[in-house]
């Protein structure tokens, strides 16, 4: 039975060649879950039937590998990448391209991601280091192996959540479902599979690196954003409220002739910051995909 499912999945993978890796991972997980539960149910209902017949009826219902693959391809085209329109956009004048990120949900998403990754990075990195050390220590005791297994299992769950956040904010297609693990497998076998999957260790590295990366994002992108807002508001702050920009010491008021220029500089810096955030977000999306999605 398992051999037939594996064969089917191999064919499906072949049919989906060239598609997005996250899509392939989801499609395979869906198919494996569906086929193995359907087979189990059918065999339980009618134990007398031949396995070959049962398999045939299950596949008839689910569709051949080619049919399933084309359904996934079609839906993916229509669903498109979220946050942007699915139709190609026309060339735009320079000014609206420069201001574009202000009206672009993807740029704001990348910006929010840059701010959040400090916090999420702190949690991920803390969990990875504390949990990792704790399970290493525990390996000397009898309860060590289940504990280490639990830790590796949690990494998988966190990777899925981080993937959802990355897809929501950076609009990169990430897995939507956990990899299917057959419920009949013994827990020792499950832990072994987790331990030998390169995915697990790549996710661990991703989580540990996420904290320094998050700090960098927060300081550069968050800092530029705050500076540009302060520049824009500086005429009102200095003339209206006598609050100087405290970049050059507490009492450094800007000369009056410079104020409009500072304000203008802020207006230019704001879209630039969002351009930078969008670019960094694109890079980070590719990096997250390389680290968190199965090859």
């Amino acid at each position: 039975m398992d051999k037939q499912i594996d064969e089917y999945l191999g064919r499906l993978k072949n049919e989906l060649k060239g598609c997005d890796r996250s899509l392939i991972q989801d499609a395979l997980a869906d198919a494996r879950e569906h086929l193995s539960t359907a087979l189990d149910n059918a065999l339980k209902k009618a134990p007398g039937l031949k396995q070959q017949e049962v398999w045939q009826s299950v596949v008839d219902k689910f569709g051949t590998a080619g049919e399933v693959a084309s359904a996934y391809r079609e839906a993916e085209v229509r669903l498109g990448s979220p946050l942007t329109s699915i139709w190609p956009s026309r060339p735009k004048p320079v000014l609206s391209r420069f201001l574009g990120p202000l009206a672009d949900a993807r740029a704001w998403g990348a910006f929010i991601y840059a701010l959040l990754s400090f916090l999420t990075g702190l949690v991920y990195c803390g969990w990875a280091i504390v949990g990792g050390l704790f399970s290493l220590l525990a390996l000397f005791f009898i309860f060590g192996i289940p504990l280490a297994g639990l830790f590796l299992f949690s990494l998988k769950g966190i990777a899925l959540v981080e993937g959802r956040v990355v897809e929501a904010l950076l609009a990169v297609r990430m897995p939507r479902k956990p990899l299917f693990v057959s419920p009949d497998l013994k827990w020792t076998a499950k832990i072994k599979a987790l331990f030998f999957a390169a995915q697990t260790w790549k996710a661990l590295v991703y989580f540990i690196l996420q904290f320094p990366i998050g700090v960098l994002y927060l300081f550069v992108i968050g800092g530029l954003f705050v500076i540009s807002l302060a520049f824009i508001a500086s005429p009102v702050l200095e003339l209206g409220f006598h609050l100087p920009l405290e970049l050059l010491g507490a009492e450094a008021f800007t000369p009056a002739w410079l104020l409009p220029l500072v304000c203008l500089a802020g207006l230019v810096l704001l879209p630039l910051t969002l351009h930078l955030a969008k670019w960094a977000g694109t890079l980070h999306g590719r990096y997250a995909k390389a680290m968190l999605v199965k090859d």
Binding site: S85, S89, R106, W108, G109, I112, A168, K177, A233
Partner: protein, 294 residues
């Protein structure tokens, strides 16, 4: 025979009746964008055609409203938000209480509520800054463009917040921006932006996220912190000799109480997650009413 884009959209809306409003909004935005853009291409190529004549080949290619509606319906079944997947196993009430620990949706809500402070502060800061900048600059010549760019940014941020809500709370939200007359003049686009109640509802949502998100964050972090501290109190007390609470003076509970405190902490954690899930699903519904076109 469909005479105009408006009629097509009306029929499509009719055909999608009963579906999720976020999905309807996406389907209508896709269709409107495609039809209007292709129509503009045809009309600017040849001048002497009516809209209905020009529309016929475009609709033939894109599909009738009924066909498009059934394609969207089919897609939605396969691709509903993953964390919303229903649990099909029936369990006893006791194991259901603890099963929340493995419930992706509960953890998603938990994360959403925790992040509320950060996103809420940003939304609040941006809406306050943008509104005051627009008000200050309205008498100047740059006033209207500043207001327009700010309102566009509000729409974009609202769309993005919708994606966060869908990812973490499992509520279907719009995936694509609303169509805003790409080809028409600046003035017409500004007008449709300002006249659209969706823009102002989004602005209100983002502004309210500031207090709401802060409350979410503080309460969730407090509950989670209490349960963690109680659960780990034996270690905290026996190894580090720290008090349970330090409100006015340090309080050390008697020794027999310590295991009970730990047990209470262990029970409090699933309870916190239950609360987070409940609040998350409430917030999902609230976000849907404010961020999705009716």
């Amino acid at each position: 025979m469909i005479m105009s884009v408006e009629e097509y959209l009306e029929k499509l809306r009719e055909a999608l009746r009963g579906c999720d409003p976020a999905m309807i909004q996406d389907a209508l935005a896709d269709a409107e964008e495609h039809l209007r853009n292709s129509l503009e291409g045809v009309v600017s190529g040849r001048t002497a055609t009516t809209e209905a004549d020009a529309l016929r080949p475009i609709i033939e290619k894109y599909g009738t409203p009924e066909e498009v509606a059934s394609a969207y319906r089919e897609m939605e079944i396969r691709f509903s938000p993953s964390v919303a997947a229903p649990r099909h196993k029936l369990q006893s009430s006791r194991s259901q209480f603890f099963a929340i620990l493995t419930d992706a949706r509960a953890w998603g809500s938990f994360l959403y509520l925790l992040l509320g402070l950060l996103t809420g502060c940003f939304y609040g800061l941006w809406t306050l800054f943008g509104t005051s900048l627009s008000v200050v600059s309205l008498p100047l010549i740059i006033g209207l463009p500043v207001l327009g760019v700010f309102l566009l940014s509000v729409r974009a941020i609202a769309l993005m917040e919708g994606r966060i809500v869908e990812a973490l709370l499992g509520v279907r939200m719009p995936r694509r921006p609303l169509f805003l007359g790409e080809g028409s003049s600046w003035k017409a686009r500004f007008k449709s932006l300002v006249a659209d109640t969706q823009t102002w509802k989004s602005l209100g949502y983002l502004f309210l996220q500031f207090p709401l998100g802060s409350i979410y964050s503080f309460v969730t972090a407090l509950l989670f912190g209490i349960s963690l501290k109680c659960a780990l109190y034996p270690v905290w007390n026996l190894v580090f000799h720290r008090p349970l609470v330090n409100l006015f003076r340090p309080y050390f509970p008697p020794g027999w109480l310590i295991p009970l405190i730990s047990l209470a902490g262990c029970l409090f954690l699933p309870l916190t997650l239950h609360v987070a899930k409940r609040v998350g699903s409430f917030h999902g519904r609230y976000a849907k009413t404010l961020l999705v076109r009716r």
